[in-house]
């Protein structure tokens, strides 16, 4: 009997896909044919860029979202609503501000209909375990971020779930607090004091994943797929300065930049390029700052991403966004965990403001097809104006509404910097006339 139980995996995901409807009626696939099993006694990490569908997968397991196709099972039973025995820690803590710490922790028990006395005892035990003694009657807004997330943990642990889901639980905390909370969690886990069997965590922080997980699934984006599965045999507690640790981090960086590589070599027929290119809103100030930093000492045009992330105090995810924007505009190239300035990038770094804008504009028109399109339309029309809605509709043929909005926003801000064309927010019109 016991043998049978341990053989049924806690979570069994097979060939799960999920798509969301686009404005024009067709679908955007955010998660495609993902397989995942979680057994008892392991910490599994889902690592990937934003938009790689890892949070979507977590919500499918949590029973908050239904898969579009494929099979999601918890202890052999199909998941159709939040399963018993799974609880969740939220990125934003998701505490109820009108409930005290104790009431927040008791919430899940209350829903289960646990009697009041027992509820109180369990809640106090969880509060005690997670180091919140003395804060029972405080309201969340009286607590610091770290203490709030402790409440989030206590609330999830108090129901003694088999599987604890964590959705980027440390990313809203400052560096120091996050590290304390991580080590506290790992210590409790190693000592076997957590009333849970397994953990599934979503993160975009590479070091965090290497620090905590026994197994890491690296996701690729557009659509989200499992690009690689890594087993980590490093014993806990792990040391960030351990050469083995560093090597793992480096190799994951390389793995994640590798995925972006085809974009820079092939010119046509790449997913997510052409008119359907999704642009993340990245400030031109930061882009030029990054180019300058890369051009100067000590990098002289080439930098190791983990090193750069540390030096600029950027999350890996942010750095990837910036690097990809530069790569898209052919100012830099990403490969093997490194970022290298192209010739154009080096030239940009040494130009004056006006000349920079000119170079930037040239690259925009050449390498962002949609920019070229808008510019052409404006040139052709006698009035030299065009409504933004026209272009937004066109973008929506390729992406979801919110992505189209973001892309359009990026286009406006880049075009403004490059002085390619103007945009009037009130009338929502593009035009050629620049107020000079």
């Amino acid at each position: 009997m016991l043998d049978h139980l341990s053989k049924t995996p806690l979570i069994d995901i097979s060939q799960v896909s999920r798509s969301f409807p686009k404005a024009n009626g067709s679908d955007v696939v955010v998660l495609e044919n993902v397989d995942l099993t979680i057994k008892e006694g392991e910490i599994v990490g889902l690592l990937g860029r934003s938009g790689s569908g890892k949070s979507t997968l977590l919500r499918i397991i949590a029973g908050l979202l239904a898969p579009s196709s494929g099979d999601a099972r918890c202890r052999g039973a199909t998941i159709d609503g939040p399963p018993v025995g799974i609880s969740m820690v939220f990125q934003s803590f998701a505490l109820f501000p009108w409930l005290t710490v104790l009431q927040n922790v008791e919430l899940g028990l209350e829903a289960k209909g646990v009697a009041r006395v027992e509820r109180r005892a369990l809640a106090l035990a969880a509060i005690d375990l997670i180091g919140l003694d003395g804060f029972e009657n405080a309201y969340p807004k009286e607590l610091s971020g770290g203490m709030r997330q402790r409440v989030g943990f206590a609330r999830a642990l108090v129901v003694h779930p088999d599987l604890l889901l964590m959705d980027e639980p440390f990313s809203a905390l400052d560096v120091l607090t996050a590290e304390t909370l991580r080590t506290d969690m790992i210590d409790l886990w190693i000592e076997g004091r957590l009333p849970i069997k397994s953990v599934l965590m979503v993160t975009h922080n590479i070091e965090e994943a290497v620090l905590m997980c026994d197994r890491i699934l690296v996701f690729s984006s557009n659509p989200g797929r499992v690009a690689r599965e890594l087993k980590l045999d490093l014993p806990h507690p792990r040391n960030r300065l351990d050469p083995m640790f560093r090597q793992l981090v480096d190799s994951i960086y390389a793995l994640m930049t590798q995925r972006a590589e085809p974009r820079s070599t092939a010119l046509d027929g790449i997913p997510g390029t052409g008119m359907g290119m999704v642009l993340e809103p990245v400030s031109t100030n930061i882009l030029s700052g990054l180019i300058e930093a890369l051009a100067g000492a000590p990098y002289h045009g080439r930098a190791d991403l983990p090193v750069l992330a540390g030096a600029l105090q950027l999350e890996a995810d942010e750095l990837f966004h910036l690097g990809e924007a530069l790569q898209l505009l052919r100012f830099a190239q990403l490969s093997e965990g490194d970022v290298m300035l192209t010739d154009a990038g080096t030239r940009f770094a040494h130009l004056e403001t006006d000349a920079r804008k000119k170079l930037f504009a040239e690259h925009l028109v050449t390498y962002v097809p949609f920019m070229g399109l808008i510019r052409r339309v404006l040139d052709e029309r006698p009035t030299h104006t065009a409504p933004a809605a026209r272009f937004r509709n066109e973008l929506e043929d390729y992406m979801t509404g919110s992505r189209a909005d973001e892309t359009l926003k990026t286009i406006v801000s880049w075009a403004r910097y490059g002085e390619l064309f103007a945009y009037d927010e009130r009338t929502e019109m593009f035009s050629l006339e620049n107020p000079e």
Partner: protein, 577 residues
């Protein structure tokens, strides 16, 4: 286990009553007595009203004021119940939402006093021979002045809940019922309390107007401040009017201090924000109850009852239905639903047209529309004058924090004060100097509602960021440039909020402002308000219906064409921070 250490101490101290206890206990007993009194007088037979006619003796005023207050309380309880049910249904069911929200939108622009004509008749017929019918009609009038915007506020809160909290309730498998009390209601609470307070300040106007009302041959006079004033007008007793004004002032102050201050201070804990606010609202009465140990004793059974309510194990939230099959079925159902609604609307249109055609002619409609235009003109001109007067004054006050702190409560108080109590004073002046009623009755419409403009402008000017003020000063921006480039855009969203309330209130007030009397002297000025008022007095129901429809159309149109675009503009372009 730390609590046990302190337990004996707490018990010993709680035996000795504190002065807080005595005060709190007295207040609680007072409330219980009030409820008992209210129950006795409202179930009395209607003849009791005639047996004890109203008297202008100021000694009776406290009792009258009490009756008025009880009506207000009852109305707010009904409004709250309505809000919970209506908003919850609209927010949870997509199909219900399609119908309920537009209906609510229209209901908001229905003139409440016009409504009164039918409700009085309806409730009197419902409880023949009992005071209850008349009382309910009055309560219903107040209810209609409060319920709609409270419901809107709750609905909007329910639609804008933070996604993570919603997911948390799902993930921890709270039932729909538990979620309602743990998430829906608390999240909506601050908005709800604020809106209830605003509605309440509008409500005084209607309670006063609804206590003495004549519909055709039926005249209902409910003991209260409103009927007291009506009697004073009939007997031309200016002294009695001033007593009523004083009584009303007292009632509003007490209501604010004993009910709404504590509520606002209490609701502050439900505000959804991550940082703690230093400027939390305070209330001495709430502090009193929090300090009094007897409160805890009294609150324990309530808390227990509360716990029983929200831990009720009602059905769980429905899971996400499964997919494609349902999608098609649901689309068909949508069409069926839409067809049902359209049919109902069509039927309603047919019977309305039939009713109006059978009873009144097209010329009548023209009269009503022309009257509507006259009233519209009045509202516009008055709004313009009020804006020119109160915006500069409000800015001047708002930029002086010390002064604003003192004036702001006064302005809010004046907005709550039912202006119809003060009408006689104006009418006396008009009669005495033989002024032109067409012009001089008009200001009455805005007498009570102009304060909304004032206190919103004060709020806007107070909230104007000091760095922008300093920037304007350091760049030597002065005069017209300062008004048009700096402060007016800065207060615009606030001004619009106030102006919408003021304009809406003015339409409502026109029904009592365009017709005024003093003793036997009747002053009437043409307009939609007097059209409805006269039709009510004559018991001419079709005319009242027509008047309501026309006013409703005017208000809805001006909301859609003027106020909403301005509001949207203010929110998107001029909202600071």
């Amino acid at each position: 286990m730390k609590q046990q250490k302190f337990a004996p101490l707490a018990i010993r101290r709680s035996i000795l009553p504190s002065h807080w206890d005595i005060l709190a206990l007295l207040l609680v007993i007072g409330v219980i007595v009030l409820i008992a009194y209210g129950a006795r007088v409202t179930t009395a037979p209607l003849s009791a009203l005639d047996a004890t006619p109203l008297s202008l003796d100021p000694v009776n005023l406290p009792i009258y004021a009490l009756r008025t207050v009880l009506r207000m309380l009852l109305a707010i309880v009904f409004s709250l119940a309505f809000t919970f049910i209506y908003a919850a249904v609209a927010a949870k069911s997509r199909r219900a939402e399609m119908v309920l929200i537009p209906i609510l939108d229209i209901l908001q622009s229905v003139p409440i006093l016009g409504f009164l004509t039918f409700t009085v008749t309806f409730f009197l017929n419902l409880f023949p021979g009992s005071v209850l019918g008349a009382e309910l009609a009055s309560v219903f009038a107040i209810f209609t002045s409060q319920a709609w915007n409270m419901t809107f506020s709750m609905y909007q809160s329910m639609r804008n809940q933070p996604k993570d909290l919603v997911e948390a309730t799902q993930s921890f498998q709270l039932s729909g019922w538990q979620r309602f009390w743990r998430l829906d209601v608390p999240f909506a609470m601050p908005g709800l309390v604020w809106n209830a307070m605003m509605s309440m300040s509008g409500g005084w106007f209607f309670v006063v107007a609804s206590e003495a009302i004549t519909v055709g041959n039926t005249t209902v006079t409910l003991p209260g401040i409103g009927s007291y004033v009506a009697l004073a007008i009939k007997q031309q007793d200016l002294m009695a009017v001033s007593y009523a004004v004083v009584a009303m002032l007292g009632v509003i102050v007490l209501y604010d201090q004993l009910l709404f201050r504590p509520l606002v201070a209490w609701a502050d804990k439900f505000r959804f924000e991550t940082t703690s606010n230093n400027l939390a609202p305070t209330s001495w009465i709430l502090d009193l109850f929090r300090h009094a140990r007897v409160t805890r004793l009294l609150a324990t059974p309530l808390q227990w009852a509360g716990r029983q309510v929200w831990t009720l194990r009602l059905p769980k939230l429905p899971g996400y239905g499964s997919k494609a099959m349902d999608m098609a079925a649901s689309r068909v159902l949508d069409w069926v639903w839409f067809a049902v609604i359209a049919a109902a609307a069509g039927w309603a249109a047919v019977i309305s047209v039939e009713y109006l055609r059978a009873t009144i002619g097209w010329s009548e409609i023209r009269t009503a529309v022309v009257d509507g235009c006259i009233t519209l003109l009045r509202v516009l001109v008055l709004m313009l004058i009020a804006t020119l007067v109160w915006v500069p004054i409000g800015v001047w006050i708002g930029l002086r924090p010390k002064l604003a702190e003192k004036v702001q409560p006064l302005a809010q108080f004046l907005a709550a004060f039912p202006a119809n109590i003060a009408f006689p004073a104006f009418v006396v002046v008009i009669v005495h100097f033989s002024l032109n009623a067409d012009i001089w009755l008009s200001p009455l419409m805005i007498l009570g509602t102009q304060w909304y403009i004032l206190f919103n402008v004060i709020a806007g000017a107070s909230a104007f960021p000091s760095d922008l003020k300093e920037a304007a000063r350091s760049f030597h921006i002065r005069g017209w440039q300062w008004w048009f480039k700096v402060i007016l855009p800065g207060i615009f969203p606030y001004y619009i909020t106030g102006a919408i309330t003021a304009a809406g209130g003015s339409w409502n007030a026109s029904i009592v402002a365009e017709v005024a009397s003093w003793g036997d002297t009747q002053l009437t000025t043409p307009g939609l308000g007097s059209y409805i008022a006269n039709a009510t007095t004559n018991g001419n129901f079709p005319q009242v219906v027509l008047g309501i429809i026309v006013m409703c159309t005017f208000v809805t149109l001006s909301n859609r064409l003027i106020w909403r675009p301005l509001y949207a503009f203010g929110e998107s372009r001029l909202r600071l921070g």
